[in-house]
């Protein structure tokens, strides 16, 4: 025969219950933020560019000439959550006359997979310095799923640096063409 007895429910102290609740909540938050971690999409590119270079050629005179040929390479980094926004890093080397080395950091906004615009900071770091701002557009003509021809018109104004002979800024109106590769 079974004898039914009433087993009293164990009393859990309020402090313990509160602690467990808080810890559970914290763990949930931590785990949730891990699960939400973004992946990044990389695009690499390599190109050649030139265009027009404007600068001070005397008191108050702005002259134009062909800009030095440059090699450009870099990456675009974008979150897979929002592929319209990207952060672009570029390094470039001017390979005519005295060679220079520079870079660019830019925010890119892609209207579609093949058309985007950007704005950022640009500079030459050696042998003399130049710093300024740049705006431009990216047009990608796809050749496959991950490869495309990239055309990039840009406009840069560089008012600061030891490469400037006077207080007038240097202006670049450039067009780069190259290959864009989905990495």
């Amino acid at each position: 025969m079974f004898e039914l007895t009433h087993v009293p429910k164990p009393k859990i102290p309020l402090s313990l219950r509160s602690t467990v609740s808080v810890l559970t909540l914290l763990f949930a938050l931590v785990l949730a933020s891990d699960a939400r971690a973004d992946g990044y999409v990389f695009d690499g590119d390599f190109g050649l560019g030139s265009g027009l270079e404007g600068g001070d050629t005397g008191p108050g005179k702005l002259g134009w000439r062909r800009a030095r040929l440059r090699i450009t390479t870099g990456i675009d980094l974008r979150s897979d959550q929002s592929e319209a926004d990207a952060l672009g890093f570029r390094a470039f080397a001017e390979i005519e006359k005295r060679a220079t080395l520079g870079g660019e950091l830019r925010y890119e906004r892609w209207i579609s997979h093949s058309v985007g615009a950007y704005a950022g900071a640009i500079g030459v770091i050696t042998p003399d310095t130049l710093f300024g701002g740049s705006v431009g557009a990216d047009i990608v003509i796809p050749f496959g799923k991950r490869v495309g021809l990239c055309l990039e018109p840009s406009f840069s104004v560089l008012p600061v640096g030891s490469d400037l002979p006077s207080s007038g800024p240097l202006i670049w109106l450039l067009l780069s063409a190259g290959i864009k590769l989905g990495l």
Binding site: T57, K61, R66, L151, P165, L175
Partner: protein, 76 residues
């Protein structure tokens, strides 16, 4: 009446034509300064700098407190 449609092929062709035109303009110096004018100090040879469009080498005469500028011979 059928309206002419603009497809991606036309856009690509237009871009290519624009690219070629830009390249031709960039590579010619028509309407621009001659190559002898400097715009940047790195247009000048090492030891010279650009002043009012001309490369200048600064020569310090030990017998004189001042400086004298002479035009660089191999300015680009």
């Amino acid at each position: 009446m059928a309206r002419p449609s603009l497809n991606s092929k036309h856009v690509c062709r237009a871009l290519f034509v624009l690219f070629v035109a830009w390249g031709a303009l960039s590579l010619s110096n028509v309407g621009c300064s001659s190559g002898a004018v400097c715009y940047r100090n790195t247009d000048c040879p090492v030891g010279a700098h650009c002043k009012e469009g001309q490369c200048v080498i600064v020569v310090i005469d030990p017998g004189d407190a001042g400086t004298a500028g002479s035009q660089a011979s191999d300015a680009h």
